[in-house]
Amino acid sequence: MADRITLQVARYRPEEESAVRFQEYEVPCPKEWVVLDGLNYVKDRLDGTLSYRWSCRMGICGSCGMTVNGEPKLTCATFLTDYAPGPVRVEPLQNFPVIRDLIVEIGDFMRKLATVKPWIIRKEHEEKPLSEGEYRQTPEQLEEYKQYSMCINCMLCYAACPIYGLDPKFIGPAAIALAQRYNLDGRDQGAPERLQILSEHEGIWGCTFVGECTKVCPKHVDPAGAIQRYKLDASVEWLKSFFMPRGA
C-alpha cells in the first residue's frame, strides 16, 4: 500500500479570489489516519492558510463535516486508506454558502433548529416543583426517542438533501428529527406547538422522502424515518380535528 496519498482540497479565500479552486497536497497515509488527520498535517506542516472546522476528532462534536469524494462525511471518521491510492477530493459541505476554504455558513440551520423548540416544554402550571424530584422514565420510554437524541448537528443530512438544496426554506432533516426527539419524550408536552411550525409547507410536507439524509447520518438517527412518522402523526391529528373539532 502506498504510504502517501494526495488530497485535492477546495480553496476559497474571499480576499484573494472570487471562485473555488483546488489545491493538491501530498500527505502520509498510515492506516489509522482519517481525512481530518490529513488536513491537520497540511495545516501544521504544509500550508498554514488552510481553514476548516474541527474539534473533538471522535464523532461527537459534529464540526468536521465535509464533502469527501462527493459524499458528505465526518472527516474524523473517514479513513484515508479507504480512498487509496487516491486522490481524495475534500470540499465544503454542499447546500451551504462557503465562507472560506472548507468552512460553511451554518446560521440558517441554527435559526431553523431554534424554531422547532428542541427542549422539553411543560404546559403552564404543570411543571412540578423541584422538591418533588425529577421526572423519571422507564427504559422503554427512553428507547422511544433515544435514536433521535443521538443527533450531533453535523448537518451532513442537509448537505445530502436535494430538497434543501433546491428550496432553502425547507426546515430540513435534523431539525425535524430533533423536534421528534422531544415529541416522543414522555416528559414533554410541547408536541402541539411544534406541530404548528412543522405542519407548514416548508416543514414536514416539504420532504419528498429521498432518504439520503438517513444514509449519510453518521449517528444512525434516521431523520427520513422521523419525518415520515411525523407526517403520519400530523395526518392523524388533522383527521381528528376534522371529525372531532371540539376534541375527543
Partner: protein, 138 residues
Amino acid sequence: MSDRPLYTEYHPRWIRTRMSTYWWLQRRSYLAFILRELSSIFVGWFVVFLLLLIVALNQGESRYQEFLAWSGKPAVLALNIVSFFFIMYHAITWFNLAPKAMVMRVAGTRVPGFLIAGSNYLAWAMASALVGWLLLGE
C-alpha cells in the same frame, strides 16, 4: 430569538453554488428517487385506464368491444407495459419504505421492519390472488 440584525446573511463574499438542473443524475439514489416520483404519472394513467374501462363496460357490449380493440393497439399496449413496470417499481419501493413511517410495538418491543414490509407484501399477494381467482376461477 433575539432581534439582532442578520447582517451576515447576504454577505457578498460568500460563495453560493446553485444546484445543477441535472442534480438527479449525479447520484444513483437521486435517480431512483426521481424515477419513483415519475412513476406516479403512470399510477395516475392506470386509474384513468380503469375508469375508461368501466365507462365502456357501462355503455354496452359494442362500446366494450371497441375499448378492447383500442387497448390492443400497439401504442396503448406499449404504454400499458411501461406503466406496469413503473407501477411495480412504485409498489415495491412503497412497501419497502413502509417500515420507516410505521413504528409498531407488540408487548413493548418494536416490530422489526421486515415484518411490516412483509405483511404489506402478503396483503398484496392475497389481493392479487383474489383478483386472479375472480378472473380465472370461473
